[in-house]
């Protein structure tokens, strides 16, 4: 089938490209081709071994060699560009909802455009543009959101009417369309030839390419890659890059120390036709009809059309299977719904003659984003795979970022959304992956509204209180496999309705969350926050303190029982993690960080704690259930349960103490709530969880206690201008940029990671500033709600994007958090952002193409809240007197 396809899709280009490639490689490197039965032996050692000769592997080789690394061997089990790359539909599309993906696609497009000139290999690059169609108003909103972020990046893009769409592509049937998005610079390429061009350039730069060579496994010693075993011998190396596409999971598991690369293959179909009577021009735009689940591009005068069906066919669940490979046949019945959709979109194609239905497996990941980065357990083991069928769009950019990562220690952009370390072993079960990718593949074209969540692979990690909370109406969302409560549906509410609150507008849980927020403000609420990552770090001597003082920016040499908010910064002062650390004793610390930090933070600390020290670190995430008691009455509940005074005099804020609650002893109580509201978090050994929860709920009754969920928490923390790592903060944000200088102790008597960068920022100022925006003329009931990623305009000019948003029930306004930059009007260069710069601007936030006035603030409304609370307390006490 592959051979057949080669003839079909890349006929002309291949013949043009291949001799060139062969001549060059055989003269210089003599790699194995069919013409040469005796391939050159593999080198005994190399700095880097890349496994996989598809678009991704060749892109990594290309960029590494461009950045000056020369000692690179690329190994391909078959022929270059003969796997998924060969079958790729060749559409380079930049309209991506995730910012980093958008940047990768944009870079890829620019790279491919000049690749032919650079390498002499014909890539078939044609700028056709693309039209994304909207059959519904909601789809149009999502297109408008993408258009807004493309425009501020300087990528031409416009929202057009159906009539304009049909002018761009006369075959489109527009009777069911409400609008469309036109991206004029999207392109088509021959993916295989792009890959060959990249290989050609890499080869010129000294990369050795060996085809028909299989990697059997990677050897790791003392947590570091040492070499690669192949069917043609061993290569010693410092770096290994797994670009094995759909085989990356298996390859990751082939070594003694498994590297978990959670991806799973699904069959993917597209159709090729003979040319139309009047052949389509090669510049005709590509059409995406996500509501119809299909894409359509011109192909040699005819069309190429595929899609993402509702009922995908996962394969290779049990690993590479010869039978399954042979069974990769055209499945017309499976393709039927997509064909219906195609003919509905372009009825004029009825008489067009079919050439072939291509079945090409693609690999998908648990969260629809690709997998990039270094293994948390094997240093020097890098991965770039799981392209979710966008390998050609991302290939160039992804290869660049990975090369930067390897050469510079970190890429030039925040790639956390793609980082391998966002996953752990828990996403590595084949059953989980099989089920999840069956959801992910249709999701590619499903409408994604705010707060959408995955439905498969759920209830994996749960709190011991899960059933109790569920029985009380909890609605759940998932983070890193952990079930967390969104909100509680009060008894008697229409449950079905609430499960369908999928909208860009005001959701139907609005009042429910409002009531929870009110209770947090006026009485007390319990939120189960057990998902937080929890580490204990201790040592026999002072090593723990010394190491942590070096690794964290705030001063941890505090009295026992104090809690410190601190960043775990990188050399550039950026947040690798944002955590709360309690000093349990002179020599032991309890560290709380975001849920999805479990793998990343562990690896970061492991790699930086001195090897031979007696510092021990333990992941105790699973040992504790965390209950967050938020609200002015939390203090009353807790003191009644513990017979201990909990008032501020006895238990000041940012304090930690082991105490008894009810019958249970050894509960770590911390006076923090992650919201800015008064209250405590109780870290409860799991066997006591139910007991403590019951005691708290019983005792809390007279104080008006109720359950609450993360939506309430979110509203509270955003109106209090609290930044969350992973949402607002990332490795490219420093404490100085988000108003957290007070959490940095620049003069703590010893050096710490990122200190220099912070000192420099302190002196020279920051180039972006975390800012809070209150939407002024936004109608909560009628207007599209902000989400995140909305462009911010200052005096009409783009200055940055929002990172999170929530409705503030106190302010009765929407609050958006985001970063403000100061781009030079002429050069676009970033300039220092001062307080004045922030304060002296008129701001607007662009939500799906509509701009709303916003008031910028650098500090939360502390006065307003205190006033309010006092007033409420009066009301509450008045109520109790009656």
């Amino acid at each position: 089938a592959a051979g057949m396809f080669l003839r079909l899709l890349a006929d002309v280009q291949w013949r043009a490209a291949n001799p060139k490639w062969r001549r060059m490689t055989s003269s210089r490197r003599s790699t194995s081709t069919t013409a040469e039965p005796h391939p050159l032996p593999l080198p005994a050692q190399a700095q880097v071994v890349i496994c996989g000769g598809g678009i991704i592997g060749t892109s990594v080789a290309y960029h590494l060699s461009k950045m000056g690394w020369k000692d690179i061997v690329l190994i391909e089990q078959g022929r270059l560009a003969a796997g998924t790359t060969r079958f790729c539909a060749g559409i380079v599309s930049t309209a991506r909802p995730v910012s980093i993906e958008l940047k990768m696609a944009h870079y890829s497009n620019q790279l491919y455009q000049q690749l032919e000139q650079e390498t002499g290999v014909q890539t078939g690059y044609t700028k056709t543009g693309s039209i994304s169609l909207a059959q519904t108003q909601d789809r149009l909103i999502s297109l408008k959101r993408i258009a807004a972020s493309l425009n501020v990046m300087g990528i031409p893009c416009e929202i057009i009417t159906p009539k304009q769409a049909v002018q761009l592509h006369p075959l489109i049937n527009i009777h069911d369309l409400v609008g469309a998005m036109y991206v004029p610079e999207d392109a088509l390429v021959s993916a295989a030839n792009v890959s060959l061009a990249l290989a050609t350039a890499a080869s010129r730069n000294g990369v050795q390419i060996h085809e028909r060579t299989s990697v059997s496994h990677v050897t790791v010693q003392k947590g570091h890659v040492t070499g690669v075993e192949t069917d043609r011998g061993r290569i010693q190396c410092q770096y290994f890059v797994n670009c094995a596409g759909q085989w990356a999971y298996e390859l990751g598991h082939s070594g003694e120390e498994p590297v978990h690369i959670p991806l799973h293959a699904c069959e993917h179909f597209y159709l090729l036709t003979h040319p139309l009577k009047e052949p389509l021009t090669s510049s005709l735009p590509t059409v995406f009809d996500p509501d119809g689940r299909i894409y359509i591009r011109n192909w040699q005068g005819g069309i190429l059309s595929g899609g993402f069906e509702k009922n995908p066919k996962p394969l290779f669940t049990e690993g590479r299977n010869q039978l399954e490979i042979q069974n990769l046949q055209e499945d017309w019945d499976h393709f039927g719904p997509l064909l219906s959709s195609l003919l509905r979109r372009m009825p004029g194609l009825e008489a067009l003659q079919i050439m072939q239905l291509v079945n090409c497996p693609e690999s998908f990941t648990p969260d629809m984003r690709c997998i990039m980065g270094e293994s948390p357990t094997a240093r020097g083991y890098f991965v770039l795979a799981g392209m979710n069928s966008a390998g050609i769009s991302y290939g160039g950019g992804a290869g660049k970022y990975l090369a930067e990562w390897m050469v510079n220690g970190y890429p030039s952009e925040n790639v956390w959304p793609l980082d391998l370390k966002r996953f752990g072993t828990l996403q590595s079960s084949r059953t989980f992956l099989r089920h999840r990718v069956m959801e992910v593949m249709p999701l590619m074209y499903d409408l994604k509204v705010p707060r959408w969540d995955f439905q498969t692979g759920r209830q994996l990690r749960t709190s011991p209180l899960y059933d109790r909370l569920d029985a009380q109406g909890a609605r759940w969302m998932e983070k890193h496999g952990f079930e967390r409560v969104k909100y509680f549906v009060p008894p008697g509410s229409d449950l079905l309705d609430l499960d369908h609150s999928k909208t860009f507008y005001k959701p139907d849980w609005f009042d429910i969350v409002g009531a929870e927020v009110k209770c947090c403000k006026e009485a007390v609420c319990v939120i189960d926050m057990s998902s937080f990552t929890k580490f204990e770090i201790s040592s026999t001597g002072d090593e723990a303190l010394e190491s942590l003082q070096y690794l964290f920016s705030n001063d941890l040499d505090v009295p026992v029982g104090h809690v410190v908010h601190t960043g775990m910064l990188n050399e550039k002062g950026g947040y690798e993690n944002d955590c709360s650390i309690a000093r349990l004793s002179k020599r032991s610390f309890f560290m709380i960080s975001p849920t999805d930090q479990q793998v990343h933070c562990w690896a970061w600390l492991k790699n930086r704690l001195p090897d031979d020290s007696n510092v021990t670190m333990e992941d105790v995430t699973w040992k504790y259930t965390a209950l967050n008691l938020i609200g002015p009455r939390a203090v009353d509940v807790l003191s009644e349960l513990s017979y201990a005074p909990m008032t501020a005099e006895h238990f000041p804020s940012l304090f930690c103490k082991e105490m008894s609650v009810g019958y249970a002893n050894g509960i770590r109580v911390m006076s923090i709530t992650h919201t800015g509201e008064p209250g405590f978090v109780l870290y409860i050994p799991i066997e006591y969880a139910l007991h403590v929860y019951n005691e708290v709920m019983n005792m809390g009754q007279k104080y008006g206690i109720r359950n609450a969920g993360y939506y309430a928490l979110r509203s509270l923390r955003i109106e209090k201008f609290f930044a969350f790592w992973g949402q607002d903060l990332d490795a490219f944000t420093t404490p100085m940029e988000c108003g957290r200088e007070f959490q940095v102790k620049l003069e703590k008597g010893m050096d710490f990671v990122g200190q220099e960068a912070l000192l420099e920022q302190k002196q020279n100022g920051v180039y972006k500033r975390f800012t809070m925006f209150i939407l002024e003329d936004h109608d909560t009931d009628m207007d599209v709600w902000p989400w995140w990623g909305e462009p911010i305009f200052r005096n009409g000019r783009y200055v940055g994007k929002t990172t999170s948003s929530a409705y503030s029930y106190t302010l009765e306004r929407h609050v958006c958090l985001g970063f403000v930059h100061n781009f030079d009007e002429k050069t676009g260069e970033e300039q220092v952002v001062t307080t004045d710069f922030i304060n002296q601007g008129e701001y607007e936030i662009d939500i799906a193409g509509q701009r709303f006035q916003a008031k910028a603030k650098l500090y939360p409304f502390s006065s307003l809240f205190t006033q309010r609370r006092r007033k409420d307390e009066v009301e509450l006490s008045g109520y109790q007197r009656e």
């Binding site: 159709l271 036709t273 046949q329 055209e330 499945d331 017309w332 019945d333 393709f335 039927g336 064909l339 219906s340 195609l342 003919l343 194609l349 009825e350 008489a351 067009l352 003659q353 079919i354 050439m355 072939q356 239905l357």
Partner: protein, 458 residues
């Protein structure tokens, strides 16, 4: 006015019946997994009958469809009685003696058959005594004739068919003092019925056929596709051998008048049948019986009418043709159906539809474009049709119902068309017969594991 899909379903499912052979120790040791049967009337009342029973004193299962004509009396009688005649014919001498002794001494009788009946499949209570006496006479004769040889199934089937037809004829000639019974036996004898009966015992499948109902074996080929093997010969004018046989049995002078307009003596479609004494008795006998019979019989123009060119009776026989087939693992099912099915559907389609139904359509042949010139529109039509086929499968829990749905509702593409189905089912009684015949279907599903094991054991 159209019937809604639920209304259509309630009509189609009114007579459906399914039987699963019970398992022993978690294993089904029978070569039959079970059967589905159903009937759709066109006549009012329906003239088709069906029967299914397990032989209790010998091994094996009996299934049959009976297509009545000139009323349903004969088909009804045959459906009640034939399996007893067959079962008795198969019984060994000792068992026959035992039964006779039990009857003689008034002891409880060994059960001979276990019936698998739909509630609408009634047995005549009034005639049971009469029928029993005739049957007893038959086994008494068998006891007297004791040949000592083991019973051959083929022989038994032929004997049973002939003997029952003979008894029907005799009972009508003798009459009965009870006027109701007297009229009944006459109606049975003067109406007619074809019969297509299967006897399955292990890998031995016997089909005994009299008339134009048909038995068809569904065979799954190695590539998963379905093919049909017919296991009976139609006894009608389309069957040259049958025409030849009739001509051989009568003088040359009658050659031209024997078969006219594809009918026996220009009147009867099936060339073999039970009852139909008008084609079996001499003119004198017919006249005598009718004259002495009840008034209702005398008033009936049809019974009084003597076929033209009626010179050398009998012209009709109930003797079946028996075909023996050794079941193979690829033989997945057997369809017994009256001509109402076969005149609307080709056997190949029947094999495919039932086969796909029973295997859950997973074996629907994949479509490959290959070198063919196919347009997107054509492919789309083809796929839509295949999807419709699958969806109609899921509606039915009974293979026979599914087949009827296709037989009545199929459009030119071989797809069930609800509109057509609705029209056909809402025809008024008097019109229904013009567009379709009674349809009766039994689909027997075989147990390939047992059959494979039997084969290997041999």
């Amino acid at each position: 006015f159209y019937l809604t899909p639920p209304q259509v379903n309630s009509i189609l499912k009114a007579n459906e019946y399914s039987f699963k052979v019970p398992e022993f120790d978690g294993k089904n040791v029978s070569s039959v997994l079970g059967f589905d049967s159903n009937q759709l009337p066109a006549n009012a009342p329906i003239e088709d009958r069906r029967s299914a029973a397990t032989c209790l004193q010998t091994r094996g299962m009996l299934l049959g469809v009976f297509d009545g004509h000139a009323g349903c009396a004969c088909a009804q009688a045959v459906s009640e009685r034939l399996f007893y005649y067959i079962a008795v014919s198969l019984l060994p001498h000792e068992t026959l003696l035992e039964i006779e002794n039990a009857v003689e001494s008034g002891r409880a009788l060994l059960p001979i058959l276990q019936w698998h009946k739909h509630p609408n499949d009634y047995f005549s209570k009034e005639a049971s005594k009469l029928y029993f006496n005739s049957l007893r006479t038959y086994w008494q004769e068998l006891i007297d004739l004791n040949s000592g040889e083991t019973t051959d199934v083929r022989e038994a089937l032929i004997n049973a068919f002939k003997r029952l037809d003979n008894d029907i004829s005799l009972e009508a000639q003798v009459g009965d003092p009870n006027s109701f019974l007297n009229y009944l036996v006459l109606r049975v004898a003067f109406s007619g019925a074809t019969a297509c009966v299967a006897h399955v015992d292990g890998v031995d499948l016997h089909i005994a056929n009299t008339g134009d109902s048909r038995a068809m074996l569904g065979v799954q080929e190695e590539d998963g596709s379905w093919s049909a093997v017919t296991l009976s010969y139609d006894h009608n004018a389309q069957n040259e051998n049958e025409v030849e046989r009739v001509k051989m049995e009568h003088p040359k002078s009658e050659e031209k008048s024997l078969v006219k307009q594809d009918r026996l003596l220009g009147l009867l479609m099936p060339f073999r049948a039970f009852g139909d004494v008008k084609f079996k008795w001499s003119i004198e006998l017919q006249k005598r019986v009718i004259e002495s019979g009840p008034d209702q019989l005398n008033d009936n123009e049809y019974t009084k009418f003597i076929p033209p060119n009626y010179h050398t009776p009998p012209y009709l026989t109930a003797e079946p043709e028996v075909i023996h087939h050794k079941l193979r693992p690829q033989d997945k099912f057997l369809v017994l159906a009256t001509d109402g099915l076969w005149e609307t559907m080709h056997r190949q389609d029947v094999a495919r539809i039932v086969g796909e139904y029973l295997t859950g359509v997973h074996h629907q042949q994949p479509i490959a474009v290959g070198g063919y010139k196919v347009t997107l529109g054509q492919m789309h039509g083809l796929l839509t049709e295949r999807r419709a086929r699958i969806s109609s499968v899921f509606e039915d829990q009974n293979a026979a119902t599914h087949l009827i749905r296709h037989a009545v509702g199929n459009n030119e593409f071989g797809t069930v068309d609800h509109e057509r189905l609705s029209k056909m089912l809402s025809l008024p009684e008097e019109l229904a017969r013009m567009y379709r015949d009674d349809i009766t279907i039994i689909v027997v599903q075989f147990n390939s594991h047992v059959i494979g094991a039997c084969q290997n054991g041999e």
